[in-house]
């Protein structure tokens, strides 16, 4: 039993790492633009299907780079045309818009690529388990974790050490002052949105290799990401990281004892956190209304 538990904790961390990647993109957009991006799952699906489409021409590694960039470009267009006019209005406007976009993405995917799922082939050397004992850690899952770690590291560097990142952080704290200092806030929001959508696109490519492609896959992966943000603390990227890993582990451990509740446990965790520490584990007091 202890070995089984250890397996599932490790496995939960791997799953959680994936939620982290999704949730970080969501969190970035929420923090600066106040947009609860329900279309994030749609961007994930778009990233996966774009990778599927271009893989025959650019290969898996090319698709891993190009597909998130194309997705980010789509995100940029969506932000400029549809989301920008809603800044300054009640956040529910943005929520409803992205809610509708999620439908459009799903039906659009079904229209273009069909309702039937698509198989995605990953490089053969990544498709093998590490060993017979650690069969659940395949090269690809390990690769996913490395990719998440790299993405988180790069995001940290971007936010901490680059002019763009410092402006994003400043804008998150006080957008009006940032604007008063002459920074182009519109551009800042667009770039920030694109970075968030890039992470969704990257998640899509990684998920496609792991799960295959299906038009509805975005909705299923989006909810845990929202929970990761709420558990970790809205407004805290570190909290998002922690939240994603925690719900992944909780889900994995629950599957050992009570499999039926392995999904419900995430919601239970969210409820408990909201009751005991409403601002989330690493959310700061007074950060939310």
């Amino acid at each position: 039993m202890s070995q089984l538990l250890l397996f599932n904790v490790t496995n939960g961390l791997i799953i959680g790492a994936f939620y982290v990647l999704m949730a970080l993109g969501l969190s970035l957009i929420l923090n600066l633009s106040n947009v609860i991006n329900f279309a994030h799952g749609g961007f994930l699906v778009a990233g996966g299907y774009i990778a599927y489409t271009i893989t025959p021409y650019v290969g898996f590694w090319g698709a891993l780079l190009v597909a998130p960039l194309v997705t980010a470009a789509i995100g940029l267009a969506v932000e400029r045309v549809l989301i920008r006019p809603l800044y300054g209005r009640d956040p529910l406007y943005g929520l409803l818009l992205t809610f509708g976009l999620a439908f459009i993405f799903e039906d659009g995917t079904r229209f273009i690529w069909g309702a039937q799922g698509k198989p995605v082939t990953i490089p053969a050397f990544l498709a093998q388990p590490l060993s017979d004992e650690l069969f659940f850690i395949t090269g690809y899952r390990l690769f996913m974790v490395v990719m998440v770690a790299v993405a988180v590291g790069l995001l940290f560097v971007l936010l901490r050490y680059t002019r763009l990142g410092i402006r994003i952080r400043a804008g998150t704290l006080d957008l009006e002052t940032v604007a008063a200092l002459g920074i182009n806030v519109g551009m800042l929001r667009s770039l920030n949105f694109s970075v968030g959508v890039f992470l969704a696109g990257l998640s899509g490519v990684l998920a496609a290799g792991q799960l295959g492609l299906e038009p509805t896959m975005g909705a299923g992966l989006l909810m845990p990401s929202f929970i990761a943000i709420i558990v970790g603390g809205v407004g805290s990227l570190l909290g998002t990281l922690l939240g994603g890993l925690l719900i992944g582990v909780a889900s994995g451990v629950t599957a050992v004892f009570f499999p039926q509740a392995s999904e419900a446990i995430m919601y239970v965790m969210m409820a408990v956190v909201l009751l005991i520490r409403p601002r989330g584990l690493l959310g700061e007091e007074g950060m939310m209304t």
């Binding site: 089984l4 397996f7 599932n8 496995n11 791997i14 799953i15 929420l30 923090n31 106040n34 329900f38 009640d90 529910l92 929520l95 809610f99 439908f103 799903e106 039906d107 079904r110 309702a115 039937q116 799922g117 198989p119 498709a127 388990p129 017979d132 069969f135 659940f136 936010l159 901490r160 704290l173 957008l175 998920a207 792991q210 799960l211 295959g212 299906e214 509805t216 909705a219 299923g220 992966l221 929202f226 943000i229 809205v234 407004g235 805290s236 990227l237 990281l241 599957a255 050992v256 499999p259 039926q260 999904e263 409403p278 601002r279 690493l282 959310g283 700061e284 950060m287 939310m288 209304t289």
Partner: protein, 420 residues
């Protein structure tokens, strides 16, 4: 990493409202097709055109549409053209019931077909019985529909879960071993299918090492698979369907579990095999219908007709379900020369499908006692690559007649109560 403040006007409450709204994403649904005519006979079809069963539902609709074209070319029903009204249940019970009511009350359809999802099909049956509307469940498998919850107005085309279990249990036991572990979808279909398999296994003298109940729409099965492997079964039976089957099989192969444990199941579908990479097309299964059968009359024409309409894709079992359900209604209505639901429901009892509709070698008829179609099980093995045709992904070893896989009516728990 620094914490970042969000604006005062985004509250946790808004985020939670959003999360709640997300869970409703699958409820809203679009109308699919409309072609109205004043004198037509309308047939309502409710299927999950969106959600995890969208691919199979679309194939059912595709089969029903072909049937409508052919029926209309032969003069329709009682000389009137047939019109198919398709509604999306969005894989949600409430939506399915609402769409069924709308079709019966507003569109005044005399016939209903649907749903792929057993839970929705059962809920729809409550409505159609209340409204005295003839209803054919084309692709919802749970036993209750033609078992303890059977209704005078409800017929079913696809196999029951008991028939599915009976078609492969002996083979799996003798060929692969006596310790079985299940991965089961946590709803009506999965529960009855697992119970039937477990019961068969017990009779054969085997043991169940575990049953992983997985929520519908599970994307990551690794936690369940770790547990299943630790139980050291001889056979890992996958009872999940749709995209769940695809995800589960793919992960099994990635983990190399198929090298240690035999992977098999009951119902397998061409839609799932098509969505899998070649290395994950493994295992012994039963198909409910297959597009490649030697010497079956009219099969080649059916396959060609579907291919013409689907850009070269072959018909699947789901296509045949939709086709058969639609044809059954038209054939019986034309034979009885009425649209009266009670008369037609009585006439469908023991109604035998003609060769151009049954498209299989064995006799195929609706059983009078429980309204279940006695249709064959195509037992065989998944193929990594199509031999001769990229969609020939299954090798049929045996075709077992429905009479052989179905329990006797007395064992189904069905007692039909006819309206006074």
């Amino acid at each position: 990493m620094a914490s970042h403040r969000i604006s005062d006007n985004v509250s946790r409450r808004v985020l939670l409202k959003g999360a709640a709204a997300l869970s409703g994403l699958q409820v809203a649904s679009p109308f699919i097709i409309r072609a109205r005519g004043e004198t037509s006979v309308r047939v309502g079809m409710v299927d999950p055109m969106t959600g995890v069963y969208a691919a199979v539902a679309q194939n059912e609709v595709s089969g029903a549409k072909l049937a409508v074209e052919q029926i209309n070319a032969k003069g329709g029903i009682l000389g009137r053209p047939v019109e198919l009204l398709v509604e999306d249940s969005a894989n949600d019970v409430g939506t399915g019931v609402q769409k069924t009511r709308k079709l019966i009350e507003r569109d005044e359809v005399p016939f209903i077909i649907g749903d792929v999802n057993s839970g929705i099909a059962q809920a729809m049956a409550q409505v159609t019985a209340e409204k005295k509307t003839l209803h054919i469940v084309a692709g919802g498998h749970t036993d209750g529909i033609t078992g303890k919850d059977c209704k005078w107005n409800v017929y079913r085309v696809c196999n029951t879960t008991r028939m599915e279990a009976n078609s492969v249990s002996d083979l799996l036991f003798t060929k692969y071993g006596k310790k079985w572990h299940f991965v089961t979808p946590d709803y009506a279909f999965g529960h009855t299918l697992q119970e039937a398999c477990a019961e068969n296994l017990k009779k054969l003298g085997g043991t169940v090492t575990g049953n992983e109940l997985t929520p519908l729409g599970t994307s990551d099965f690794s936690a369940y698979l770790i547990k299943a492997r630790a139980a050291k079964p001889d056979v890992l039976l996958l009872l999940v369907q749709g995209s769940d089957m695809v995800n589960c099989l793919k992960q099994i192969v990635q983990f190399g579990i198929d090298k240690q444990i035999h992977v098999a199941g009951t119902q397998q579908e061409l839609e799932s095999l098509n969505a899998l990479p070649a290395e994950a097309r493994i295992g012994v299964w039963m198909f409910e219908w297959y597009w490649k059968q030697p010497n079956t009359p009219h099969l080649a024409e059916f396959v060609a007709d579907i291919r013409k309409r689907t850009g070269g894709k072959v018909p699947t079992a789901r296509t045949w379900f939709g086709y058969t359900a639609m044809y059954s209604l038209a054939l019986v209505a034309n034979r009885e020369k009425t649209l009266d639901s009670v008369k037609l429901a009585q006439a469908l009892g023991d109604f035998e499908l003609p060769a151009e509709v049954k498209l299989q070698p064995n006799k195929c008829y609706y059983r009078k006692g429980d309204h279940q179609l006695m249709t064959s099980a195509f037992v065989g093995e998944a193929l990594p690559k199509g031999a001769g045709d990229p969609e020939d992904l299954f090798r049929v070893d045996t075709i077992v007649a429905g009479d052989k896989t179905s329990p006797a009516v007395s064992e189904t728990g069905c007692t039909l109560q006819w309206p006074a």
